[in-house]
Subunit: 355 residues, 2 copies
DNA sequence: ATGAAAGCGCTAACAG
DNA sequence: CTGTTAGCGCTTTCAT
């Protein structure tokens, strides 16, 4: 039940008090003679002493741990975000406690309580709309918390998000320029800002380009496997058929691709496709996929910096929200309809140099 | 510096001692009258009391936290593993502290010390060969630790790994059956069992099928971006050209794909390709990719169960290693050479129903 | 420059 | 059934 070697053991071995050892451990060399310091350091080394973070944390009520709550660890988008968070935290001496809410408010709430119970210094969270009151409470008590990727409307939580309106807008404008007339969008339904904003970007852009309300083709589907595939099929069976599809998630994109293939339609001849989120495989899909690239790593990095600042700062830091800009990566899947040759699509439309 | 509401506050409010509160918190209802229990529970609720896990951990030297050290969070393979670990741990009431070693022994060592410092109850690790002594020490001191995916030869650490020999073997046999004559493999160099075993599987299978040592085509490359691509180009420029490539990583597969495309070669007509690790996008590549599927989720699940068992068990549990079997997912990219039609490959070779 | 003492919040003997 | 006491290992006044 006891720890192998404690600060007292080191103190005894070095012939000093625990206080002195503690000072040295925390880099307070100025208060100790060089000779003593050396002796203590030697004792630490010899005994292979490791300070107990629990005891330290209990005393200081700081743990150097950041809690991270994500909604879907299956989405590779989060890997980049996580890497940004991790790199930044590591540099600053923080450890991560990563949780998965599965977009379930109950699980999310449980995680938040759990993290607080463990005295994590701060929380980075991709929030669920269902826990607004809980977040308001966090904000009110001043518990360091930062939103990432999503935000909750009218809740002044600091955070870092993407410009989703612009992301959808970029995609739609690109498709319009390519001569596409009937652009459809598929999105998950729900009060989640990433989804709603992308739909909004789609809407406003089309309306700004002279389309009417009744020209909009919006399919909102529940966030569960297969739903997007069905929606895509539904859309593609309409008459007239949409000539472009805008996906709003990288997972969703694969389902849509499946739908298009199963209907025997060709991309981009019969229908153009633009995906949301650039992934390492987009380039190798059949055909190579045009996507909206989001600065995921950077988002993680900024969120981490923000939370660390909040953890350290005694004075309240600015509670602003950073908005990061997406960009469009244009590839084969959205090639202009007019430029489409009538023969079968090129195989291996790669980067060239035939060997 | 102090906690908002402590067990003492609850005790006072309920008119009992802290001990009684503690008992109730830990589900020891049998030792307390129903009436008292109700009063305490009520006080807890009213004060919104949350026990301090640090204090509890310090007292018991248990934290209900499992440390997880992975070598490369960028690889989506680990997402499945992580999900398996997470689901299992959550059910058992454990939190996760996830670290990324980036395959750097120094970082790994730092994480291990850090996790011990934080008194995590156990560690799941995808080990680096560089810290053998450290793992031996963990084993000697009886600190709960479980290897995952990799193991260190001649180190009796409990763990759960894949049958990599069989994985490569399945792929090679499949290619041989398809009439491929010059099968090459690309793997990362280093003492890492996952790589070496896959190469071994490749070797023994080919030799068992009557090939000679000099027929083997093995490219070992450093684990850094672009290296596999170069190796693939090197291989494909040989005369005679290999007619099949076996990749040993999903990240590597994308690089190889890139190489093949850049040389203007067709898959599977000019060269067959088999990837290692099934991912959600393999099916949608150009062409759909044959892969070796590994039970990633299950591996995480088993590793988690194992470590939890070790954390709880006072008596030493069996230190055995579980080996999970891979399976081959056959798709277009490894279609038999003989069966290859001479016309351009089919576009959208999807699952059918032209609608 | 160093040490003694007190206590962070909780649990685990031991009493009663 | 309930409370008293004594720490877990560390940091932090406050003395010296």
């Amino acid at each position: 039940m006891k720890q192998r070697v404690t600060i007292a053991d080191v103190a005894k071995k070095a012939g000093v008090s625990a206080t002195t050892v503690s000072r040295i451990l925390n880099g307070n060399y100025s208060q100790t003679s060089a000779e003593t310091t050396a002796r203590v350091l030697e004792a630490i080394r010899e005994l292979d002493y490791r300070p107990n973070a629990l005891a330290k944390g209990l005393k200081q009520m700081k743990t150097q741990v950041i809690g991270v709550i994500l909604s879907n660890l299956q989405n590779p988008f989060w890997l980049r975000v996580l890497k940004g968070i991790e790199d930044t935290c590591r540099k600053a001496g923080y450890q991560l406690m990563i949780c998965n809410s599965c977009d379930d408010p109950a699980i999310e709430a449980e995680h938040i309580k759990n993290l607080q119970t463990r005295n994590v210094d701060g929380i980075i969270v991709n929030p669920t709309p269902g826990n607004r009151d809980l977040f308001e409470q966090l904000l009110a008590t001043g518990y360091p918390c930062v939103f990432v990727n999503r935000h909750l409307p009218n809740l002044a939580m600091p955070g870092v998000v993407m410009n989703n309106i612009r992301g959808a807008s970029l995609a739609v404008e690109h498709l319009l320029e390519g001569g596409r007339q009937r652009i459809a969008i598929i999105a998950y339904q729900g009060e989640i800002t990433t989804w709603t904003e992308r739909v909004e970007g789609y809407k406003t852009t089309l309306l700004a380009h002279g389309k009417r309300e009744q020209d909009l083709l919006i399919e909102l589907v529940p966030n569960r496997p297969g739903a997007a595939r069905s929606a895509a099929i539904r859309l593609l069976k309409r008459n007239p058929r949409p000539d472009a599809l805008l996906s709003t998630t990288n997972l969703m994109t694969l389902e849509i691709l499946d739908a298009i293939q199963s209907l025997g339609l060709r991309i981009p001849e019969d229908v153009a496709l633009v995906g949301y989120d650039e992934t390492m495989w987009c380039k190798y899909l059949n055909p190579p996929l045009t996507t909206v690239r989001q600065p995921a790593y950077e988002m993680g990095e900024i969120a981490a910096k923000r939370i660390i600042q909040l953890c350290k700062g005694t004075r309240r830091t600015k509670l602003d929200v950073t908005v990061l800009e997406p960009e469009l990566v244009v590839r084969e899947s959205s090639r202009p309809a007019s430029a489409t040759p009538d023969v079968g699509a090129t195989i291996a439309a790669g980067t060239g140099t035939s060997g």
